[in-house]
Amino acid sequence: MNAQAPALDIRHFLNGHLVDVFQTMLSMKATPVSEGPPPKFAEHTTGSVGFAGDTVSGAVYLHLSTEMANRIAAAMLGLPPEETLGESDVNDVVGECTNMLAGGLKSALCDKGYECAVSTPAIIRGTSFAIESLPDVRQEQMIYESNGSRFAVEVHIKFNGKN
């Protein structure tokens, strides 16, 4: 496989895939937001899953407010939205949602000839942080809205040094 980026519209693919993950696993409607600044949170809960292969590598991040993370955890566990959950339960759900997003992207990349493997999920919590990538890494950020709350998916991806 040559080093050119595949004919895969990552933004378009992930928009559809995220809506499917939210609808199927959480029974929640999520809508891509085409305009506006990235959401700012007082406290972040971010899921991350890396992927790596000979011709492609990168990571998928799901950025949520801690309140939104608690709400999606309750939805997936079949609990009322106002239920306060333990941090480990919330982390597990956010990690699994991120895993589904990254697994879908990995599958789409593999179908384009870019074989790669995904990592197990990791969770980052904090009040103020930014994820920066190394040079030559393409970054895409998609913003979504669900039940009046905004959240973001960020993809960092590198195709053999060419993007």
Binding site: M25, D89, E96, N99, G103, K106, C110, D111, T120
Partner: protein, 141 residues
């Protein structure tokens, strides 16, 4: 006799969803958080079917599946992969290792039940009859 199903997934949430989907059915759910635990539980419990994730710490699902198929005592247990990864080559590779079926996350609980029902007999639990109220005491003559 109740069916015995082993769910091998590093996500507690997924194991919980599997348990919730199976609640109406007469079956026993065993759980493991990675492939190594999964092999140990499979050897001990001899499940009728295994639901297996791919990406897990310690031992991934493909390694567990390979070892399972090498074990004469376990190789006939049907395995359904339950994974977020559905790339064509990935599916072909795993199919060659001898999986019975494949369910891609995200999934609905009824899709899971449908896949399971194709591979084993799932019987609904019998409704527990409501307790019969005690007859009122006859009035004393």
């Amino acid at each position: 006799m109740a069916s015995k199903i082993l769910s091998v997934d590093d996500s507690r949430t997924i194991r919980l969803i599997v348990g919730r989907a199976l609640r109406p059915y007469d079956c026993v759910l065993c759980e493991a958080g990675n492939g190594e635990e999964g092999l140990a539980v499979a050897a001990r419990e001899k499940p009728d079917l295994i639901l297996l994730d791919v990406t897990m710490p310690v031992m991934d699902g493909v390694t567990m599946l390979t070892k399972l198929k090498e074990d004469p005592a376990l190789k006939t247990i049907p395995v359904i992969m339950l994974t977020a990864e559905s790339g064509r080559d990935n599916v072909i590779h795993i199919a060659r290792l001898g999986v019975r079926d494949y369910l891609v996350k995200p999934f609905k609980e009824d899709q899971l039940i449908e896949k399971l029902s194709r591979n084993l007999t799932l019987k609904k639990k019998e409704a527990v009859p409501a307790p019969v109220p005690a007859p009122a005491a006859a009035p004393q003559a």
